[in-house]
């Protein structure tokens, strides 16, 4: 059962003029700050997220395996209504857990025993798909920090309109209008899903199409991210002549 509003007009356009399978405009940059080992900034439509990675460094507790520590925090001015606490509330802790799960599927933890990798994500503006953009920014930050990943881990959201047409990359308004919302964090080339979350309800017959739509979105985002990484390498490497590495 989709939400209260019809998210697609008769011409097949969404509220912001996109077609159902179109992503929002993505802009990203690696290496925004100097202090963290790796940092990245990602914009997907109006959602803006900053990610910083510290590590690998000595773990605080004695563990033989690597520890992946995340923190998800939202600036108080990020939402339309002022958010009272930036982090520590239930939603942020949930997202923190999901980030940990997804990233532990991507990071090659066997290469970092007894070490801790800290990933901090700060949402500057929240306009839908907060977790997905946060994860994408975290991936870029990890690459900037030089931490070995199995593969890009990319997240994308998908939904279903009332007329059962799947929509990719939902914005905040589409989220709250009550339609189903599916978030997928996947390893696109391996076609594996590391994390999947869904709320509201729709019939099981549509599940496969919605997941596939989200996976297609993930693949698109991955191409964009890869292009950004290559450009960053070119930019960084032009000074010391390793620009043409890839």
């Amino acid at each position: 059962m989709a939400g209260k509003y019809e998210l697609l007009s008769e011409q097949g356009l969404r509220l912001d003029g996109r077609r159902p399978h179109e992503l929002r405009r993505i802009k990203c940059k690696l290496g925004v700050f100097e202090q963290p080992d790796g940092s990245a900034y990602m914009e997907q439509g109006n959602t803006k997220v900053l990610a910083a990675v510290y590590g690998p460094h000595q773990a605080k507790s004695k563990h033989t395996e690597s520890i992946i520590n995340c923190q998800y925090s939202q600036a108080t001015f990020s939402t339309a209504e002022r958010k009272y606490r930036p982090r520590g509330d239930r939603k942020s802790l949930e997202f923190k857990m999901y980030l940990q799960q997804a990233l532990s599927a991507a990071i090659k933890s066997e290469l970092y025993p007894r070490s801790q990798i800290d990933i901090y994500v700060e949402v500057l503006q929240a306009d839908g798909a907060n977790y997905a953009v946060a994860l994408n920014a975290a991936t870029l930050a990890l690459i900037d920090a030089g931490i070995c990943l199995n593969e890009f881990i990319v997240a994308c959201t998908a939904s279903l309109s009332k007329s059962n047409i799947p929509l990719t990359d939902i914005s905040h308004f589409e989220e709250v209008s009550g339609g189903p919302k599916l978030t997928v964090a996947a390893l696109p080339t391996a076609e594996k899903i590391a994390f999947l979350e869904m709320s509201e309800r729709f019939h099981i017959d549509h599940l496969e199409t919605v997941i596939e739509t989200a996976m297609a979105g993930c693949r698109e985002i991955r191409d964009i991210l890869e292009a950004a990484v290559k450009e960053h390498l070119l930019h960084m490497g032009s000074a010391s002549d390793f620009a043409k590495v890839c």
């Binding site: 059962m1 239930r90 949930e94 799960q101 869904m198 709320s199 729709f202 099981i204």
Partner: protein
């Protein structure tokens, strides 16, 4: 999934993990179940409306639903309030100092919220008495009494059963005066539902591609990924959560989803039946269950999934009456060094040929597992649901196989 929990629970150490992974690879589980078999679900209703205790094996959850008059939220002035509260209480498992939002309670809370609140299972508008002034506030308290794996399923079943069991007082609002009637004056009214969701949990291991359903604590802690699906009786997906260190592919998830959908439907039917039985009992004026100990102990009032659903299939069976719950599967013990017990599920009923333990066949065997038909079952026999094994090769769930009239199967395949 629960990365920072302590080491006192089974399944946390490396040797245990390796052992479980190997066992799963060989398609064997510690309590003799198959990979697509669930434990029996037992429901006990309390004397108050809205009190339910659920046991799945050793996992025990107690849920209470209460209501109160209150003012609605300003953003939704004509909807009632629905509050969900999960209490893990440290009773559930050994742990060090519990933080306010530890991971287990967070996931459980989030799942229950999504399954019941976000998917709008309870019709909140029907709880409105006077818009902007008086609405009913429903509060659900879920208490986990013992954790032996699969808290999610037990909690959702308990919550749904409690909500369906619950009755609120009748109320009139006229001329600005609120009048709440007691039970003696007017009967209490049940809640209105838009749909009935329950969940099913699967665990995935890196060593094998096959998910196992309804994990015990040992299996859950050693798992690499956990998939929790909630469906309602109309086969609509209400919430889904899949995550962990072992990435899965879409096909696996779809398979789990299809099997979960059918199991959820049967679970909702079971709850309905159990509710009607309870109602009969109350009408007959039977002595109701008193007190917590009676509620969770072994009492006469347990309503077992296997029995009720099995009854449904048998035409010859007499009207089902309350029976002592018969443990028709030996439950596994979540001990640390558990020797893999390939026990044949035993039955208390009068003799029937034991199931051949070819239950360890890989999942694409189904029909061969139909039991050797035995003689007429006694009325005490726990009937199992017909085989419905999860078949990965064909993507369709197999049709329900009717029990050959008198046969009994011990292998309960609840997918």
């Amino acid at each position: 999934m629960f990365m920072n929990s302590n080491l006192f629970e089974p399944g946390k150490s490396k040797p245990e993990r390796n052992f479980v992974q190997l066992a799963v690879k060989q398609n064997q589980r510690f309590d003799g179940r198959r990979s697509n078999e669930c434990r029996d679900v037992e429901l006990t209703f309390g004397s108050d409306w809205g009190t339910v205790a659920v046991s799945m094996g050793d996992t025990k959850v107690l849920t209470r639903v209460t209501c109160d008059m209150g003012t609605p939220a300003t953003s939704r002035p004509n909807e009632g309030k629905f509050q969900l509260n999960v209490n893990l209480a440290g009773v559930a498992f050994l742990d060090e100092l519990q933080t306010t939002h530890d991971q287990r309670s967070l996931t459980l809370n989030s799942l229950l919220e999504r399954t019941f609140r976000s998917s709008r299972s309870v019709d909140l508008e029907s709880l409105c008495v006077a818009a902007e002034h008086h609405v009913w506030c429903i509060r659900v308290d879920v208490n986990v009494l013992n954790h032996d794996g699969n808290l999610y399923d037990a909690s959702t079943i308990a919550t749904l059963a409690a909500l369906m069991h619950f009755r609120r007082p009748d109320v009139t609002f006229a001329d600005d005066k609120l009048r709440i009637y007691t039970e003696k004056e007017r009967d209490f009214i049940p809640l209105l539902f838009l749909h009935y969701p329950v969940s099913v949990t699967y665990c995935i291991y890196k060593s094998s591609w096959q998910p196992i359903v309804d994990p015990t604590l040992l299996e859950e802690n050693a798992a690499d990924s956990v998939i929790v699906l909630s469906f309602n009786s109309y086969q609509e997906l209400c919430s889904l959560n899949a995550g962990g260190t072992a990435p899965t592919n879409v096909r696996t998830i779809m398979q789990c989803a299809r099997n979960a959908a059918t199991r959820c439907k049967s679970l909702v039917d079971f709850i309905r039946k159990a509710l009607s039985l309870d109602e009969e009992r109350r009408l007959q004026g039977d002595r109701l269950v008193d007190g917590l100990v009676a509620l969770i102990g072994n009492t006469q009032h347990k309503l077992s999934f296997n029995k009720l659903m099995g009854y449904k299939k048998q035409e010859q069976q007499p009207t089902p009456s309350d029976k002592m719950e018969l443990e028709n599967e030996s439950s596994e013990e979540p001990e640390v060094e558990e020797i893999e017990a390939k026990e044949e599920p035993s039955k208390e009923e009068t003799g029937e040929a034991p199931m051949d333990s070819s239950g360890w066949l890989p999942q694409d065997e189904d029909s061969q597992e139909l039991p050797i038909p035995s003689e007429a079952s006694t009325s005490n026999a726990g009937k199992g649901k017909p085989n419905r094994s999860k078949n990965k090769a064909n993507k369709k769930p197999l049709p329900k196989k009717q029990n050959h009239s008198d046969s009994e199967e011990e292998a309960r395949q609840f997918i």
